[in-house]
Amino acid sequence: MKTYKREATTITAKKYFLRYWQLYLMLVLPLLYFLVFKYAPMVGNVLAFRRYRPGMGAWGTEWVGLDYFKRFFADPAFWRAFRNTLVLSLLNLVVNFPIPILFAILVNEMRHLAFKKVVQTVSYMPRFISTVVVIAILGELLSPSSGIINILRERLFGLDAIYFMNDSKYFRLIYVLVDTWQFTGWTAIIYLAAITGIPSDLYEAATIDGATKAQQILYITIPSIMPTIMIMLILNIGRLLSLGFEKVLLMYTPDNSMVSDIIDTLVYRTGLANQNYSYATAIGLFSGLIGIVLVAGSNTLSKRLTGDGIY
């Protein structure tokens, strides 16, 4: 009886494979890609525990245990980068989390449809412009000798030119505002979709009861899109350590490094510029693990609060 059953399953498996082998054939190449380009580098993180010697392979030569971790824990440059990452992320969250919500609410209140369409189309566009271009334009706008901002400051208020891009005082502000410029319109799409789903009779009833626009926004719109707001907030917390590395790298100058050196730029500099591969891998792995904890934690939180997670 037992042998018969086993035979039956092998036959089904064979049949199954004969029927679907083409589907499995399709995924061979992409799966191979995932193993080589996504999973091999994950395994490559063992380099954090091994000493790397040039020309002796990507896996390092001998085990050194937690040596590199101990070293960067004792390194003030690491803690500076850690603090800079946290401060910049939190500042960015505080400013750029609410702005797209407000933007979406206001776009939804626009009555002139052609104007609304133009505003929406134009506001998504910065999301697709290269960060290099964004920072290059910024450099020209803020240039101390020829930038329009400094010219206006001088002409209108008689103020001296400021080298904004090189001054550590302005780095965080500029970073956050550039993020506002790049992503407000794009992120607002998600909230706009949620707002569009609100039944219109809610607003009609409120209008009959004499509610003003502001009251309608406060008591109908915002409560109705609260689930979306919560999910987005949790998503953002999960991504807290992953700042726009390329943007920071492009804005980085020795003069603003006090505040602009974040974990990712530190990894880049110690790893690729100074070829301290193992040390940089250890820092990268540490920040990656914190990232995973943040994502898992915020997902659990999301499931508990809203009944829905991101995975």
Partner: protein, 289 residues
């Protein structure tokens, strides 16, 4: 003539439209300023006379960058990476997304987990670099293309879209004697034009804008135009220096602006026509993910 029910509603509408007008201008002014600078004379730039309209209108900066072989070269490289990268990427993503869209296929759940896990935990910069280097891809153009063949977000977009195709269409095709490759080619892909356009556009924009991978993997003759621009901005690379030393900075400004405009032009020009595909992605993606 619109009638406002109350004064407060009128003020509110006024406020909304003012905020929106300001946002609109804030999005556009940086580009207008770049266009104005790129078309102005060095003299007007150095005297700080350029605002949002070119002064001493001329196309000298454009003529100069077009005579500059490195710029042409970099631009050509970018076009190559964009088309090559998008083609490879679409091929790989279609091959993966179709089987993965069949949630009853054995092993599908494990494969989805493999995909999703790799979105949250990555190898990190150094292991990735060492991988590309040990595959002997450094200083080859493949380094720009192969490591980014599949973006997991786009893959999930495509999977979600394939799932919306009715199953009975496939069943009918099987009865008609089509195999799965036939179904994918003759039924699924022709129905997925919008999704493929969306994912293809995201991918193309990624490759067009990429510079960092060029920086760490390529030699200068292989640089994409964005890296060329970045090197001009940081002063690593020379801009045209045909003019006298005194004019050099102001010439550099108009040339920089001309490079900014020409390297962004394809996106700015195509964007309004393709906008609906760009937006579609975020909507399909929002279903789950």
């Amino acid at each position: 003539m619109r009638v406002f029910k109350s004064r407060s509603n009128f003020l509110f509408t006024l406020f909304v439209n003012l905020v929106m007008l300001t946002s609109l201008l804030l999005c556009l002014i940086p580009f207008v300023y770049m266009i104005a600078l790129s078309l102005s004379s060095p003299k007007a730039i150095i005297n700080n006379e350029v605002f949002l309209w070119p002064k001493g209108l001329n196309v000298e900066a454009y003529l100069q960058i077009f005579s500059y072989p490195n710029f042409f070269h970099a631009y050509g490289n970018t076009i190559l990476y964009t088309f090559g990268g998008t083609a490879i990427s679409l091929f790989m993503m279609i091959l993966f997304a179709y089987p993965l869209s069949k949630s009853r296929l054995r092993g599908q759940k494990v494969l989805m987990k493999i995909v999703i896990f790799s979105m949250f935990f990555t190898g990190g910069l150094i292991p990735n670099y060492l991988l590309v280097s040990s595959l002997r891809l450094v200083n080859t153009r493949w380094a720009m293309l192969l490591p980014f063949a599949i973006n997991q977000f786009n893959l999930i977009l495509l999977i979600n879209f394939f799932r919306t195709i009715p199953a009975d269409m496939e069943e009918a095709a099987i009865i008609d004697g089509l195999d799965y490759f036939g179904i994918l080619l003759r039924i699924v892909l022709p129905l997925s034009g919008a999704a493929l356009a969306t994912v293809g556009l995201y991918t193309a924009v990624f490759f067009w804008n990429d510079w960092f991978n060029g920086l760490i993997y390529l030699k200068s003759s292989q640089f994409p135009v964005m890296l060329f621009l970045r090197n001009i901005v940081t002063g690593t690379s020379m801009v045209g220096d045909a003019a006298g030393a005194g004019d050099k900075t102001s010439i550099a400004i108009s040339i920089k602006s001309a490079v900014i405009i020409t390297s962004t032009l394809p996106i700015i020009v195509l964007y309004p026509f393709l906008q609906r595909y760009f937006v579609k992605g975020i909507m399909i993606g929002a279903v789950k993910g």
